[in-house]
């Protein structure tokens, strides 16, 4: 079961999902050391400052690693086997887990964010080949 957004959202991550509902990718940036981070926390992992804010990510990144999954996913995820799960490194530095869509990407390929809609929940960021 995927819990609804309502079940697990916490105040620390609410802004991420509000932005996601408008198909905008936001990440945190530290006001003190300017480091970016993902996923959201109420403090800076790099310098321990609590001067942490939100900024729009460029939505561009590169594939750090990827695996094509040949097992069936939970049906509510809407993933058709085989599907690609990847770690994408954002241009700003942080990495996130995601799915790769569209034509095949390789490790090191430039990618850009897109969005996969979900029933009753905010869309999730997915990535596809970057357009020049």
């Amino acid at each position: 079961m995927v819990e609804s957004l309502f079940d697990w959202a916490d105040p620390t991550t609410a802004h991420f999902w509000e932005a996601a509902s408008k198909e905008q990718l936001v990440i945190q940036q530290c006001g003190a050391c300017r480091q970016y981070q993902f996923y959201p926390r109420p403090f800076c992992l790099a310098c321990d400052s609590d001067d942490i804010g939100w900024v729009a990510a460029s939505g561009r990144g590169t594939v750090y690693s990827q695996t094509t999954v040949h097992l069936k996913a939970a049906p509510e995820l809407g993933l058709v086997t085989p599907y690609v799960v990847a770690v994408v490194q954002l241009e700003e530095g942080p990495r996130l887990l995601t799915n790769l869509t569209g034509e095949a990407c390789r490790i090191g390929s430039p990618v850009q964010v897109g969005w996969r809609s979900r029933q009753g929940q905010a869309p999730v960021p997915v990535f596809g080949p970057a357009t020049p």
Binding site: S65, Q66, T67, V69, H70, P82, A86
Partner: protein
């Protein structure tokens, strides 16, 4: 009271496997009782002597549930959940408890019927607050998805090949052929592995561990009591552990693996070098796990492990006999493998490993991993 002198040394004085493979005539708790009583008899002790209890994955308040079943009221309890590495980490935890007089006889136990109860699920591990938001939507099957990502990155950075991964599985199967208790003993070829179905590419079915029932028990004591053991006590010479990340994108690099810190600590404490290790028991949840373990512990340089395995170094005639039971890939993988790695190392160091005995083995290194490549624990064990 902090002990000094020879009695400060901690020994594994008893080991036993629980029933392995497919177990239908026992519960997890009765499997534990069988293994615990056999391991204690091996140590010349009984359940009455046990005052330290170490368990993982056995329910809420696991030490209480298991203790009641065994009739033990431990003065020292530990159920630190480091995943499958916990049982290797427990060697360090138990050593500290024994050395400070918190307990006199420590018992580590585990059992699972994940195969016959069909409880193994790849998709529903990540129940903590952040995972449902940022990982679960993407359908990464845990833990083989994480291992697939690690394998793909290892191939990209170092040129590791599918044949090199497959050679780990073939090596494990060769060892399993020498172990009458191994689940899979028939011959396996590189082509068999490469032709098995894809699970989480580049990993195929035969790159992944077994799903079996099983478990075991380990008894530790200080030097004075270890002398009661019917067998050669095996000294816990060095231990180390590390917990790194839950979500795989939070692992900064392959070089930052939790195994690096765990192994460094254990080797330093034991004051031994890599060349001193006669037998290596890595946690082979998958073929890539073994390559990473070889590099994390430092037997190989980064990126060299694939060729190292392909050259036959892990075989019975190789420079570093490893996976000597057949491992999680071919002998038994009851969900958490760490306890069986320790038991196999003890058997090797006692000279009780039968057809798979590494001649003259006196120093062994066990390297456990746990969670989603999240944790690691290393122990250096020495005969005498």
């Amino acid at each position: 009271m902090l002990m000094t002198g020879p009695d400060r040394e901690v020994f594994i004085s008893g080991v036993a496997e629980a029933p392995l493979g497919e177990v239908r005539d026992h519960s997890e708790l009765s499997m534990i009782a069988l293994a615990a009583r056999e391991a204690l008899a091996d140590a010349g002790l009984t359940l009455r002597d046990v005052d330290g209890l170490f368990v993982n994955y056995l329910g809420e308040e696991g030490t209480v549930q298991v203790g009641e079943y065994l009739g033990i009221q431990p003065s020292y309890s530990d159920s630190s959940d480091l995943g499958g590495a916990a049982f290797v980490a427990f060697l360090g935890h138990a050593s500290a408890a024994l050395q400070t007089g918190r307990c006199r006889v420590a018992l580590i136990v585990y059992a699972s019927r994940q195969r016959t109860r069909a409880t193994r699920k790849l998709n529903h591990w990540n129940e903590k607050a952040t995972s449902p938001q940022f990982e679960q939507p993407y359908g990464l099957p845990a833990p083989m998805g994480q291992f697939g990502l690690l394998a793909a990155r290892h191939m990209y950075e170092y040129g590791t090949t599918p044949e090199q991964l497959a050679s780990v599985a073939v090596t494990a199967r060769q060892w399993a052929g020498l172990n009458p208790k191994a689940w899979k003993r028939d011959r396996l070829t590189i082509d068999d592995v490469l032709e098995s179905r894809l699970i989480c590419a580049p990993l195929r079915r035969l790159d992944c561990c077994l799903v079996t029932d099983g478990g075991g028990a380990i008894v530790l004591t200080t030097g004075d009591r270890a002398r009661d053991s019917a067998n050669t006590p095996i000294r816990v010479a060095g231990t180390g552990e590390s917990a790194r990340q839950w979500h795989i994108p939070q692992l900064p690099s392959l070089e930052a693996s939790p195994g690096v810190a765990a192994a460094r600590a254990a080797l330093q404490m034991a004051e031994v070098g890599h060349a001193d290790i006669d037998v290596f028991e890595p946690y082979d949840a998958s073929t890539i796990s073994v390559l990473l373990a070889l590099e994390d512990v430092g037997f190989c340089g980064r990126g060299d492990a694939g060729a190292f395995v392909q050259e036959g170094n892990l075989s019975i005639t190789g420079s570093l006999p490893s996976i000597t039971s057949g491992g999680g890939l071919s002998y038994c993988h009851p969900g958490a493998l760490g306890i069986l790695l320790v038991i196999e190392a003890v058997r090797q160091l006692r000279g009780q490993a039968g057809a798979r005995q590494v001649p003259g083995a006196t120093v062994g290194l066990v390297h456990g991993i746990g969670g989603l490549f999240s944790t690691a624990a290393t122990a250096v064990l020495v005969r005498g």
